[in-house]
């Protein structure tokens, strides 16, 4: 035998307000309180259900289709949205950073560095003479020979060896000294051999190619046809 509280709970949970189980029907036949509760609940449920039931307007489908087309268009051009721009910006920044990292790590460098035959790369910068103390151009200077960009022919090595020993390591060469060097007249590849003279504040220096000179210094190329130097422009 269930209590009134349990019966009221069953009345409340009934699928339909007037459709009760046999047990509930028996109970409310004998219990006035539960019967009035059932009547009241049925009236309340009927009242709630009788409220105005609205329907969708006639243009519901048309408006829905228009909104749906808008949503589809927005989704197909979502990359134009601020979020899309942000994603594109992040991707571009990532590419730039990756490119810079690769470039600085030397992976993209096409210049062949002759590691084994280039003494400049191995040696620390030679101690300059007193006259070079104030030279602002940090140019590494070979001790005995000019590091060749490509294997220098015999005649060129001869010409380089003619530099006085006192000026061999880090020595500067005055323009007039250069003019006095025994430059082979018929040597055709001298200019392309990669030997340039850079005239600085304290005179000229021999710089192997490829070399980037910093500063607006004139580039002087050794001419093979005449025993003189000529100004080939500045480094800028």
């Amino acid at each position: 035998m269930k209590s009134c509280k349990q019966i009221k709970s069953l009345i409340d949970e009934a699928e339909k307000p007037d459709l009760f189980s046999f047990e509930v029907n028996n109970h409310i036949a004998a219990c006035n309180d539960c019967r009035s509760f059932a009547t009241e609940r049925a009236a309340l449920r009927g009242l709630i259900a009788s409220g105005a039931r609205v329907t969708a307007p006639a243009n519901f489908d048309a408006v829905l289709q228009a909104r749906l087309a808008e949503v589809k268009a927005r989704r197909s051009f979502s990359w134009l949205s601020p979020a899309g721009f942000a994603r594109m910006g992040a991707a571009t920044a990532g590419l730039v950073v990756a490119f810079l990292v690769i470039q600085f790590s030397g992976l993209l460098s096409t210049t062949e560095q002759p590691q084994s035959s280039n003494p400049v790369a191995k040696q620390s910068p030679a101690k300059p003479e007193s006259g070079l103390q104030a030279n602002p151009i940090p140019i590494p200077i070979p001790e005995k020979s000019i590091p060749p960009v490509r294997p220098a022919p015999q005649v060129m090595q001869h010409a380089i060896a003619a530099v006085p020993a006192s000026r061999g390591a880090g020595a500067s060469m005055r323009g007039r000294d250069v003019a006095r060097q025994p430059v082979p007249v018929d040597y055709p590849g001298m200019e392309t051999a990669g030997v340039v003279l850079v005239r600085g504040q304290n005179g000229e220096r021999e710089v192997p190619l490829p070399t980037v000179s910093v500063g607006a210094q004139p580039l002087l190329y050794v001419s093979t046809s005449r025993p003189a130097t000529r100004n080939a422009g500045s480094t800028f």
Partner: protein, 209 residues
């Protein structure tokens, strides 16, 4: 529960079966495959119940139509993610219920101080004072209209957690287990909320019972 495999149930509605005869799961599978007719059929089946449900929740017809359309847009855009663990009506009512509750919360944030000074119920939630109108009514039409307005006001004055449950039960006629699925609650909680909502409505609508 068996996961719905839409490949197996995708239907060429133009060929063998019409959209009208397909069940909701089959229609959803067809929507996933880009069938516009299937979507139209889903809209035709549910536009009125969903509009009415949202209207009874927020008591604003224009806004309820917009939210009903938003419900169908969400059904369409998330059709590829739909899994038939529940019936489709549970799924769509859940979307509509979430939209309606979000709307109510937005309105709650926007609402200024009411002329009816807010009272708190047993749960500590603000409830507006809505005394029953005891004045005599003159015309039958007016009586009916007033009764409907009173019911709508009484429902909208309920706390939102009671409101969704009572509307789904007594207006839309969903069973307790379906309501529990829609609201993601236990069946016992749903029964409790419906009981409390009816007790609150009984007080507000005592003049009409």
């Amino acid at each position: 529960m068996a996961t719905f495999t839409h490949q197996a149930q995708a239907i060429e509605f133009g060929a063998s079966r019409s959209a009208e005869s397909a069940n909701d799961h089959e229609l959803l599978a067809a929507i996933r495959d880009g069938d516009e007719a299937a979507f139209q059929e889903i809209v035709r089946r549910y536009r009125n119940p969903i509009t009415n449900f949202i209207y009874r929740m927020i008591d604003d017809y224009e806004r309820s139509v917009e939210l009903a359309q938003e419900t169908f847009i969400r059904v369409y855009t998330s059709a590829s993610r739909y899994q038939a663990n529940y019936s489709f009506s549970t799924y769509i009512y859940r979307i509509a219920s979430n939209l309606a509750i979000s709307e109510l919360r937005k309105r709650k944030r926007r609402k200024f101080v009411s002329l009816f000074s807010p009272f708190t119920n047993d749960d500590g939630e603000a409830v507006e004072l809505d005394p029953p109108d005891m004045n005599p009514l003159q015309d039958e039409t007016m009586i009916e209209d007033e009764r409907r307005r009173a019911v709508a006001r009484a429902i909208t004055s309920l706390p939102e957690k009671y409101r969704a449950a009572i509307v789904l039960r007594d207006v839309e006629g969903l069973s307790y287990d379906r309501i529990a699925e829609v609201l993601k609650l236990s069946e016992g909680t749903v029964k409790s909320r419906i009981n409390r909502a009816r007790n609150l409505l009984k007080e507000k609508l005592s003049a009409y019972i």
